[in-house]
Amino acid sequence: MIFVILVFFSLNFFQKDLKNTLFKASTPVLRFFWQKGREISSFFRGLLKSKTLEKELEVLELKNQELLAEIVKLQELKKENEILREALNIGLQEDFELILVKVIAKDPFEDSLLIDSGIKEGVSEGFPVITQQKVLLGKVSEVYEDFSKIALISNEEISFSAKIQKLVPSEVEGKEIKGILKGKGNQRLSFELAPKEAEIEKEDLLVTDILGGIFPEGLLIGKVQEFEKLDIEPFQTAIVVPLFDLKKIEKVFLIKKW
C-alpha cells in the first residue's frame, strides 16, 4: 500500500506531461458535457425563474433609468478625457493585450478552471484572467503544453490588494477604502484589513488595486454583501460576492500585458 502511494507521489515529477495527455484525451468529452450541462441547467433555471421575472423586470427598468443617467455623466467625462488626452498628446491605446480562451472544465472542490490554451499559445503563469465585462476571474496558476489551470479569486490560496469604489454620490465619493481581498473557497470572498474608520456599505463595489502588481488596476471584483465592525478589532472585514457567474462563463480573456 505504502509503495503504491509512493508511486502516486512520484508522478509529481512528470505530472505536467501526464495531465496534458489526459486533458487532451478527454477534451472532446469534457466539451460535450460542459455544453450539455449548460444548456440543460439554463433550461431549468428559466423554468424556475419565470415567476420572479416580472418583479425582476420592474427592478431592471428602474436600474436602467439609473444607468442612463450614469451614461450621460460618463459621456461628459469621456469628452473631458479626450480633450485631456489630446492636450497631453497621448495616443489612444488598448487597455490590455489579451488572449481569448475557452473554459472546458471546473474543479468544483478547489475553485479552479481548466482552459484550452497552454505554453503553445503563449500562456504563462500569473496571467490575470477576466471576463468580457472586465470582471476579474483569477490568475493562471499552472501551465501545461496545451492547457492551463486558472485559480479563481475565491481560491483559498489567492489574496491580493483591492479597494472599494463608491458608486453612489455621497460625501465620501472619490474616497477609496483599501484592503486585502482573500479567497475563502466555494466562490466566497472576504475583504480584510480595511481601516476601521472607513464607511463600508452593502452593495459597495470592489475593484483591483495596483498595489502588489498581481492584477491591473480597476478590474471589477464583486459587491459587498455583509460587513463586520468590531470594537476590539483594529480593522473591519466584509463578505464579498463575486460578480462573475461560473454557470454562464464559456470564454474568458487572459491578460498578457497591461
Binding site: M1, V4, I5, F8, F9, L11, N12, Q15, L18, K19, L22, S26, V29, L30, R31, F32, F33, W34, K36, G37, R38, I40, S41, I104, A105, K106, D107, P108, F109, E110, S112, L114, S141, E142, K149, A151, E156, E157, K184, G185, N186, Q187, R188, L246, K247
Partner: protein, 159 residues
Amino acid sequence: MVKNFLFLLIFFFLSLIEQSFLVHFSFANFTPHLIFIAIFLLIFFDLKEDWILPALFGGFFLDVFSGGIFGIKTLNLVFVTLFLKFVWSYIRKKSFFWFIFIFLLTLLLYDFSFFLFKICFKRSLISFNLEPISLIYNLTFAILGFLFYEIFLSLKKRF
C-alpha cells in the same frame, strides 16, 4: 483484470461528469463528490471486496483534474476507504439509518482529512468550514444512488 479496467473507465467517466456536467447543477456553489459517493456505495453494498484499487483509480482522476501536489486526493480517498471498511465491518446492521449516519460522518472526515493533508503538503494557511448544505446535497445524491442500486439488485434477483 477486466473488472479493474471497467472500474478505471467508470471512475474516469465519473470524474469527467463531475468536472464538466455537474458544475452547472451546483447548489449554493456546491457540487456533489461523485467519486466519493461511488466508493461509499460500493463498500456499503459489498464489504467482502477489497475496494482499495477502485479508490486508487478514483483518487488518481481527482488528482489529475486538480492543481497542486499530485497524490493528495488519492491518499485521502484511500484513507477514507480504509476507514469505511473498518466502520462497516463493526456495524453489521446495514439499515437506511446507518447508511445516512455513516455517509455524513465519512463525508465530514473526507473533507477534514483533505483539509489536513492540504495544510501538511501545501503549507498554506486555510481554515476548515463545516458546510451543512454540501452535506445535504451530497446525501441526496447518495440516497439516489442507494435507491438505484436497490432497484438494480431486486431486478437482478428477479431475472
